[in-house]
């Protein structure tokens, strides 16, 4: 996933730290949000099943005398899971439920200030409107109320449930009210520097001016993925374009060209010229 990806570029938002550096956070998209939520629901249901089994076993063990106590624990446990599961996990340092952690997401304030406990409570209290209310209409609608009324109620609630799909920042109602959004904070690994060695081949000025920054980052991806077929194809195209007649292996050639090209582009960048791509003639 390179930052030159245009789809990703649309989800990048400015987050300027008090030190004046823009961190360029990436917003979570609707599918990731939904995935995280689905995972959380699975965890909640599993926790409920475990809770029920434990309650049942305890009831068996006490021979029925502790039933009332166990039922109390169960009903409070159910309530705590429903209301406080999200709130509890989002108050942790990572500000994310287990589902969000797996998807590499976290909750943050839109204005970049500290995430407060109040904001977390509000954004999750709104779930009552977004998720549980539509579910109620979905399941009890048939018997208790007239079918048509249930249908209209469901549609009306659906407006809230699908709200994130209708705005640019993928905000739920809870996010709007609490002033939060959900951003990507993937843990990235610092891979080795591809330009650690000086280039093993000398290139002419013309050969190095054939490409720009976008091509350089594609070349970086190719070199990091190390797929022999892709490397062969890319090496052939570059050799053809710059007319190189070297006898190096594809990897060595690409490595050398990457280092030399990056050196050239970085040097020009220091003099104030970013050569965007190969069409950027200057």
């Amino acid at each position: 996933m390179s930052l030159s990806d245009p789809m990703l570029e649309k989800r990048v938002r400015e987050l300027v730290t008090p030190e004046g550096v823009d961190l360029r956070v990436v917003l979570a998209d609707a599918s990731e949000r939904f995935g995280a939520f689905a995972l959380d629901i699975v965890f909640i249901v599993v926790a409920l099943i475990v809770l029920s089994i434990a309650a049942f076993l305890m009831a068996m063990a006490t021979g029925g005398t502790g039933v009332e106590f166990i039922a109390t624990i169960w009903i409070l446990g159910f309530f705590a899971l429903r209301v406080f599961y999200f709130t509890f996990f989002e108050m942790q340092p990572r500000a994310a439920t287990p589902g969000k952690r797996i998807m590499g997401l976290r909750v943050a304030k839109r204005d970049g200030s500290a995430l407060t406990a109040d904001a977390i409570f509000v954004r999750n209290a709104m779930r009552e409107l977004e998720i549980f209310l539509p579910l109620t209409f979905l399941f009890v609608g048939g018997e208790a109320v007239d079918g048509w009324i249930a249908l209209f109620a469901l549609l009306w609630c659906g407006v809230f449930a699908f709200f994130p799909l209708f705005n640019r920042d993928r905000l739920r109602i809870g996010d709007i009210v609490a002033g939060t959004w959900v951003v990507h904070v993937p843990k990235r690994v610092l891979a080795g520097d591809l330009a650690a060695q000086p280039p093993s081949l000398a290139f002419t000025r013309e050969a190095l001016d054939a490409y720009g920054i976008r091509e350089l980052s594609v070349l970086e991806d190719v070199l990091r993925q190390k797929d022999p077929q892709t490397m062969e194809a890319v090496a052939r195209r570059i050799r053809h374009k710059i007319g190189s007649q070297d006898g190096l292996r594809d990897v060595e050639f690409l490595q050398a060209y990457y280092t030399a090209l990056r050196g050239r582009l970085e040097q020009r960048m220091l003099f104030g010229k970013r050569k965007r791509d190969k069409h950027d003639k200057s």
Partner: protein, 330 residues
């Protein structure tokens, strides 16, 4: 022509150790072992964070290594959330909530609270007079499963028994009170969340809550049991009805900010209203917990109307003084 090793490579080699150090500290912090970091390590995080930030700005200017830049962006973002995240501990937060935030938020909501209370009273009076004018109205207001035989066809003795009979016994009380608490808390959360739809559903929910109350009261009033019912209701009802009224008020606050944003931008107004209303709602859940305890235990165990009324008066005074008389420093 080019220097042998790239400048951006040297740049990276010189700073890499600091980044790794910061990354290791963040890993430990995020795993929730923040308390296990030594003082020196805690102090070093902001320093390392600032140097990572300046590395990021420099890297954007001198390096074209995508992996390096995205690594630094992710590292700085994580460190940013750590450094500028919530600093107060959970305990400090709780103390501040009870000492200052909660009563202040409730007091600031007084206009909405009055409106919400009026809707509830309107519901109660409407149902009271309608049921007294014709008993069949009762069934329109009261869902059958809630009335448990307390309807106009019941005899005065039956109605009286419900008020003073411990049919649940001391046995069923913990379960009963936890059930009441969760049931009421969900209704209050709903009353709040519905406020988003321009106040109307919140108003209706509070009004409807008043209707059931008024209908029940009318039935008992007709049999001369009005005073006794008052004790039965208000021992926990003062707390519970107050909580539901506040939940409705919090819903109004949000709905009003959405419908009539005034001078603020609609979104900013919502955020401000949401913050205040959220504080009130945390408190509402706590109040309902108290109400559930009173309803499950105190009401079933105390069968004397005068004692019931004095407990009700005590809770009314307590909440009133806490919210409206107690003035914490702003």
């Amino acid at each position: 022509m080019e220097s042998l090793v790239l400048k951006s490579h040297r740049f990276r080699a010189e700073r890499e150790a600091d980044w790794k150090k910061l990354e290791a500290l963040l890993d430990r912090f995020e795993r929730g072992r923040g308390s296990q970091l030594t003082d020196d390590e805690v102090v070093s995080i902001p320093v390392l964070y600032r140097s990572a930030l300046s590395s990021l700005s420099a890297a954007r200017a001198v390096s074209l290594d995508q992996n390096l830049i995205s690594y630094l962006e992710s590292l700085c973002t994580r460190a940013y959330f750590c450094v500028y995240g919530t600093r107060s501990t959970f305990l400090e937060r709780i103390t501040r909530f009870f000492r200052k935030d909660w009563p202040t938020a409730v007091r600031d909501l007084w206009r909405e609270t009055i409106v919400s209370a009026l809707f509830g009273l309107l519901g109660a009076f409407t149902a009271f007079f309608l049921v007294r004018s014709g008993a069949q109205w009762f069934y329109a207001f009261m869902p059958r499963e809630l009335s448990e035989g307390r309807d106009p066809s019941a005899s005065a003795k039956d109605l009286r028994d419900v008020l003073f009979d411990n049919k649940h016994g001391a046995e069923g009380l913990t379960f009963f009170s936890s059930f009441l608490f969760t049931h009421n808390a969900e209704i209050a959360l709903l009353a709040f969340a519905l406020g988003f739809a321009c106040c109307l559903p919140s108003a209706f929910l509070v009004f409807y809550n008043g209707l059931t109350l008024g209908a029940l009261y009318a039935v008992y009033f007709d049999r001369g049991l009005g005073v006794e019912l008052g004790g039965w209701l208000f021992i926990h009802g003062v707390t519970e009805l107050f909580a539901i009224t506040l939940a409705g008020a919090a819903g109004f606050k949000i709905g009003w900010a959405l419908a009539f944003p005034g001078k603020m931008e609609r979104l900013d107004g919502m955020i401000k209203a949401g913050r205040e209303a959220g504080l009130v709602m945390v408190g509402v859940v706590i109040m309902l917990g108290v109400a559930g305890l009173l309803e499950g235990f105190a009401r079933q165990l105390i069968n004397d109307t005068i004692v019931r009324y004095s407990i009700a008066a005590l809770t009314a005074l307590g909440w009133g003084a806490y919210f409206y008389l107690y003035r914490p420093a702003r």
